[in-house]
Symmetry: C2
Subunit: 346 residues, 2 copies
């Protein structure tokens, strides 16, 4: 490995892209509740009901991924044959939403799992693959579905169990992104760096308060990003977590304050933005692999495209639990993967 090449890696756990990787196009597909929320007008497609014409919640989630990829490719004017790899993941056991949603595309598949942080993980590895010259174009896609996630992690919806105010509401949605190294083509924004997260476990065990469980990982990744890139919070127009919600946001700001860093002026959370919590009874906010993905596609990239924001740190957060680990009394560790996004200046 030449020294020139190894220069990609900076600091303890970040990578600086020498040549930016472009998000050429993207698409978002959401369910009914998201379609009644504050970002409704920005989504590419809103389902008429949350079954999306399918026979099960899992199939419905698969169709979300299929549609999101279809729309993103269409907007980019690209054929599936031009895509070298698809990086994909979801929250379901054995990632079945991705497997059954993407089979028909016949693209080489890189399956990834980082719970609700998976959107950041797929963008990170997709960007590495393009920046390293291993592919010209790749697609990154993630999804979640309220009903399939409740069944997977908590209780069947039919039980009608009560939810504490600290609980989040899993977003029904999928976001797909076409990444490309091609400077010439029109793009929405550029990925200029990544900070890959470590597992952080503060010993919390409440799957109905995942914001608190994930806040330490968001804190660690944001802190490490600032150290590795030698930046201050104000070097970002926004620092955007995936799905901490209102409880996790407080914890994150407090944890970073203890390290002498104040992000209260820059912080935004996709889970807080996607619903009107009071009107929509979503408690702490939205969550899930789809939450950060659709908010990135519909809202964050729009702001970057318009030049309202020039540089943001996008940090999807994930809670690494399963029904089995929860029932066996394990903790709920978190992980967060950071992606630096910048406006493209011609």
């Amino acid at each position: 490995m030449s020294k020139e090449k190894s220069g990609y890696a900076i600091g303890k756990q970040s990578i600086e892209m020498k040549e930016p990787v472009y998000i050429r196009e993207s698409a978002s597909v959401v369910g009914t509740k998201e379609g009644q929320g504050p970002l409704a007008e920005l989504f590419d497609m809103i389902g008429q009901d949350d079954m999306f014409g399918c026979a099960s919640w899992e199939e419905a989630e698969s169709s979300l991924q299929k549609d999101a990829v279809y729309l993103a490719l269409g907007k980019a004017g690209m054929k599936k044959e031009e895509i070298r790899y698809i990086f994909a993941g979801d929250l379901l056991g054995q990632s079945i939403a991705s497997s059954f949603g993407l089979a028909s595309y016949e693209m080489p598949l890189i399956g990834m799992y980082g719970a609700c942080s998976t959107c950041g993980l797929t963008l990170s590895m997709g960007a590495i693959t393009v920046a390293g010259g291993f592919a010209e174009h790749v697609v990154c896609v993630t999804s979640s579905h309220f009903a399939s996630a409740e069944k997977e992690f908590r209780f069947p919806l039919g039980y009608g169990n009560q939810r504490p105010l600290s609980a989040s509401w899993t977003v029904t949605g999928s976001g797909a992104f076409v990444l490309s190294g091609d400077k010439g083509a029109k793009s929405r924004a550029a990925i200029t760096g990544i900070t890959t997260g470590k597992i952080m476990d503060y010993g919390l065990k409440d799957s109905m308060n995942m914001g608190a469980c994930m806040a330490p990982s968001a804190c660690d990744t944001i802190y490490q990003n600032l150290m590795d890139f030698n930046r201050r919070p104000s070097d970002y127009d926004k620092i955007i977590t995936g799905d901490l919600g209102t409880v996790g946001q407080h914890a994150l700001i407090d944890l970073l304050n203890k390290k002498g860093i104040d992000i209260s002026g820059q912080h935004m959370d996709c889970g807080i933005e996607i619903y009107d919590a009071k009107e929509q009874d979503t408690h702490a906010g939205g969550s899930g692999c789809g939450c950060s993905a659709v908010t990135l596609s519909a809202y964050i990239l729009k702001k970057l495209e318009e030049g309202v924001w020039k540089r943001v740190l996008f940090v999807p957060t994930g809670a690494l639990l399963s029904k089995t680990s929860f029932n066996e009394g394990q903790t709920v560790p978190g992980i967060a993967h950071g992606v630096v996004l910048e406006t493209i200046t011609g």
Copy 2:
């Protein structure tokens, strides 16, 4: 992206490493049944019982990963701080074996899912990351555990359900690999290419015959590898699938024969090698994320190291089902990820 760089990608779905990525060291940890099989003497560690001192099967699987990484780092004479990323995965829902097994290493974690093909996937993405200059050293680790897998995919062991002869036996084991771009250091073998698989679905639905479900994906990846690299089967000393077992092996050889390719002289399957099927009553053979990983570490890399084999195509195979998808009547699609391994000639 410069032309020089994009030259990594060859053919339809392969990558040729311009500078090889070295498997500097590796380690294998297995359970009691594997410790009574034909490869017993080659494993680094054999458990005294399959609980490995833990309170649950899932925790036991986590401890397998932890131990495999510990041993691999020790053999390489490296500290955890020298590892830039850990690429990890397992078969359990939400990959909890990896999450709880690897947290204490505090390494940036890239979670991956490709069912039993995950070993190939982690080696592929680990190799890309090193070859592209994004990391000097990475670790790749995967695991499976017979008891946690039966519970996850089929029935609790206590039910004592019968197994047809086409069923495979999930390997209790974990294999860890330290990848490095450093030419100077001693290494076991080199990764010189990869072929990333697509999802292949022939409509089979029998989770007790996963060999047949996965054979089409193995066929596709092997065929594509030979096309992309312009090689014949005899250009490899061995073409080694992960866990097709005896039923899947027949299907694979037949499927490739129909394409005019005969690999009967080169084919080997980790699932067939790891047990003495008659003596150990393992039916079609071993399977699981751990099967290909421990066989690679203990047996395949040894043969390469000794120069008995000069070049092999290693193709872990995965069945993309979950208990939910199976119970909902879905098919069992397959995926296979190929890695070209070569003897290092100084």
